[in-house]
């Protein structure tokens, strides 16, 4: 079962994620400058000794802001995926386990949500509960829930056929208990890579929402938000694009490598 490639994927993945994680942890105790303090006198400075990543149109230190943004990027992707995963499990497990009308009803709902434009959903979340990061996270979770529901459902349908589940059913163990104790643990192998990929997709989707003004509220920032803001200064201050983009790529590549590592290890032959 062990594949030497899984180890190198893990190493590469954890090194990349380590960079983002380190900047996040460090930002909690120290940043070179206050990431939100504006200083119009030193705006749009190219990278130099005082500001190694340069400054933005408010004169804020890009290095500090990139560090600061890692916190929100990590939070949004993890919280969003947690919600999506939870909703996906709550719907996908019964759908796959009971089948029949339960399955049809749940999948109908899940397909409808999937067809519904994510932006409209985000707008509704913001309209109902006010524009804040938490509400955006909810919206993101809802947008991604159907994907997890599908994966869970297919996995459950397969595991359900196994002998030990049949045994449990014969022994009249209540269904919720079978789902929680016997099916769920066996789903980890399928769900883990999907979760890691979900983290990456969530980050990308969030940057798209920031582009439309629906994501993190200023002066807070995520990597995606930094990129969206930098667009206006694309030619004038390219450093505003380069550094957040680099961090974003590092983060997402790291997640992909880890997910590849998991897949290679759990699925024989390596895909």
């Amino acid at each position: 079962m062990k594949d030497p490639r899984s180890k190198s994927f893990y190493i590469a993945g954890f090194i990349l994620l380590g960079i983002v994680l380190a900047s996040f942890i460090l930002s909690l105790i120290w940043t070179p400058y206050d990431p939100n303090a504006t200083d119009p006198a030193s705006k749009l400075m190219a990278p130099c000794a005082e500001h190694i990543f340069g400054t933005d149109n408010f004169g804020r230190d890009t290095f500090s802001r990139v560090m600061f943004a890692s916190k929100y990027t990590i939070f949004i992707s993890f919280a969003g995926v947690a919600i999506a995963l939870l909703l996906g499990l709550l719907t996908g497990l019964p759908a796959g386990y009971y089948g029949g009308w339960t399955d049809r009803g749940i999948m109908l709902l899940s397909n409808s949500v999937m067809c519904f434009p994510g932006i409209l959903l985000a707008l509704v979340a913001v309209a109902v509960a006010g524009p804040s990061m938490f509400n955006v996270v909810w919206a993101l979770g809802l947008v991604f829930a159907p994907t997890f529901a599908r994966v869970t459902r297919v996995g459950t349908m397969e595991i359900k056929q196994r002998d030990y589940i049949m045994h449990a059913q014969v022994m009249k163990i209540p269904s919720p208990r079978i789902m929680a104790l016997h099916i769920l643990p066996n789903l980890v192998g399928t769900l883990l890579p999907a979760t890691v990929i979900g983290l990456a997709n969530m980050t990308l989707f969030e940057s798209g929402m920031s582009y439309l003004g629906l994501g993190v509220q200023p002066p807070d920032a995520s990597f995606g938000k930094l990129l969206a803001d930098a667009q206006a200064y694309m030619t004038r201050a390219p450093w505003l694009i380069i550094f957040p983009a680099l961090m974003l790529i590092i983060y997402i590549l790291g997640l992909y490598f880890v997910s590849e590592g998991i897949r290679v290890r759990t699925q024989k032959g390596g895909v």
């Binding site: 119009p40 705006k43 149109n57 408010f58 524009p131 003004g213 509220q217 004038r236």
Partner: protein, 506 residues
């Protein structure tokens, strides 16, 4: 085989791109067509129901009123050759210009003018009595003079000396249907077509009474946003792009584009809801005024292309503005802190600023304000909402602490200050001072211009004394105009006048 597929891919890519660019090149704009980039979707072309600034700047070319603004803000005779106002300011009389034809070929008569003004004032039998142009609520009758069929008079229910600027309202043929979708006016350009989120096309009206315009066609091309417009500008598919920011304008090559600018007669306001704790305390509002460094905001949001304001009116309005108020609020953190302490907020407080997300300037202003106000202990939390939400919740619903927005108005002082009357629809900051109400009610009854000037100055002074809100800047109107063109003038209001624009003869 490996080799083969590589070559295949490369070949296809080259072929695809070559084909693409070659065909893109063939579509250069034909000479005689001027393309203007706009970033708002037109709502209506009806000259009487139109309110959105973005619609007005287009239909300026299609419709004309009895009077018309020029690029210096002067009001000149247009479809009227002259006018008189009665001493009591309750009867306006206009002489109608002869030899003017509508775009449908019909001759314009006094009858059309009466119809149009009645329609705007809600006086047509088919109307429910609601004026389409709100200022015309005071009009009681419009009629052709008995002894002179070439003159019309507008009779008011009560005197109003401030009505003149509203006679720029467009004149349409009597009983004309469909002015909103298929406009027909007397202006230098006639309407061709509108395709949603693509463009509005106008063509030259050869029989224009002032002589045919120099270009054959004007296309108002709708761009997704300023960045998309800028890309088009750089690639040469747009000839004129208004409402630019300075840093964007500076990215353009000076050989290809001339940058024109002028004061915009807009007022960017950090609007403070006068009814909300703790902003209902004038001391708090005063403190905020001292804590804001307007020059820094202008530097960050407009790259310096703005005029700092202290009060509710832009200096672009000339004599109506009171220059003695300039510089009242110097940037003074100590003073702001002590004022806050006096008001009982020495430890500061938290406020929310609700900004429309589609306006980058306002969002950026909010970010800079948040950073500045944090120095006196005020935590400003930024919430972006979309424009429709802003209009509903903030402007109409008045559910907000603070917001940042540009107040636009006609080039008329009454229009600028009317919103500060207690019962005005536009008084979204909930300002209320009986003294202001009283003076504002008196101004329309006054015909003496000097007296009016001093009354306006008085209103401005009271607004300043009450710290109605925090006024930031009059952002400069910046327009990029292709160097191939000449004759374009920037207006201190939302107008894209294409009449005199023409291609330079090389």
């Amino acid at each position: 085989m490996r080799h083969f597929s590589k070559i295949l891919i490369a070949g296809l890519l080259v072929a695809a791109t070559a084909f693409g660019f070659a065909s893109c090149k063939t579509g250069n704009t034909s000479s005689g067509t001027v393309t203007v980039g706009i970033t708002q979707e037109p709502g209506t072309f009806d000259p009487h129901t139109v309110v959105a600034a973005g619609d007005r700047e287009i239909i300026f070319n299609i419709y004309e009123g009895l009077l018309k603004y020029d690029s210096d803000g002067n009001l000149n005779p247009c479809l009227a050759t002259d006018y008189t106002i009665s001493d009591a300011a309750d009867v306006y009389t206009f002489t109608i210009r002869n030899g003017v034809k509508f775009h449908n070929g019909q001759e314009m008569t006094a009858n059309d003018v009466v119809y149009s003004l009645k329609r705007a004032a809600g006086l047509l039998p088919s109307s429910d009595g609601t004026p389409l142009v709100a200022a015309f609520v005071k009009v009681s009758d419009v009629s052709i003079l008995k002894d002179d069929s070439n003159r019309i008079q507008v009779i008011l229910k009560q005197p109003d000396s401030e009505l003149l600027s509203y006679f720029t309202t467009g004149i349409i043929p009597a009983d004309y249907e469909g002015a909103d979708k298929n406009p027909c006016g007397t202006g230098p350009f006639k309407f061709d077509s509108y395709s949603v989120s693509q463009n509005v096309t106008l063509s030259a009206y050869k029989d224009y009474w002032g002589g045919a315009p120099a270009v054959d066609k004007v296309v108002f091309k709708i761009c997704a946003d300023m960045d998309a417009g800028l890309l088009e500008l750089q690639s040469g598919t747009i000839d004129v792009f208004p409402h630019l920011t300075k840093d964007k304008a500076e990215q353009l090559s000076p050989e290809a584009y001339e940058i024109k600018s002028c004061g915009s007669n807009m007022v960017q306001i950090f609007a403070l809801n006068n009814k909300v704790e703790p902003l209902n305390n004038p001391k708090v509002r005063e403190a905020i005024n001292y804590a804001v460094n307007r020059d820094d905001v202008i530097s960050v949001t407009m790259d310096g292309a703005g005029v700092a304001l202290t009060t509710a009116m832009s200096p672009a309005l000339g004599k109506w503005y009171d220059t003695s108020l300039d510089g009242t609020y110097s940037y003074d953190l100590e003073k702001a802190k002590s004022l806050l302490a006096e008001a009982g907020y020495a430890d500061g407080f938290e406020l929310t600023v609700t900004v429309p997300s589609s306006y980058l300037v306002h969002v950026n202003t909010a970010v800079e304000l948040a950073s500045e106000l944090s120095k006196v202990g005020i935590t400003l939390k930024i919430e972006q909402v979309d424009w429709a939400t802003w209009l509903d919740e903030v402007y109409a619903g008045r559910h907000f602490d603070t917001t940042v927005i540009c107040l636009t108005s006609d080039y008329a002082p009454y229009d600028v200050l009317q919103r500060y009357m207690s019962d005005s629809d536009g008084n979204f900051i909930n300002y209320s001072n009986p003294e202001v109400d009283e003076i504002m009610a008196k101004i329309p009854l006054t015909t003496d211009e000097n007296e009016k000037v001093s009354m306006y100055h008085q209103v401005l002074k009271i607004l300043l004394g009450d710290n109605a809100s925090c006024y930031i800047q009059d952002p400069e109107e910046i327009v990029a105009v292709s160097t191939k063109l000449e004759g374009y003038n920037v207006y201190p209001m939302y107008v894209q006048d294409m009449y005199k624009v023409k291609f330079k003869t090389a």
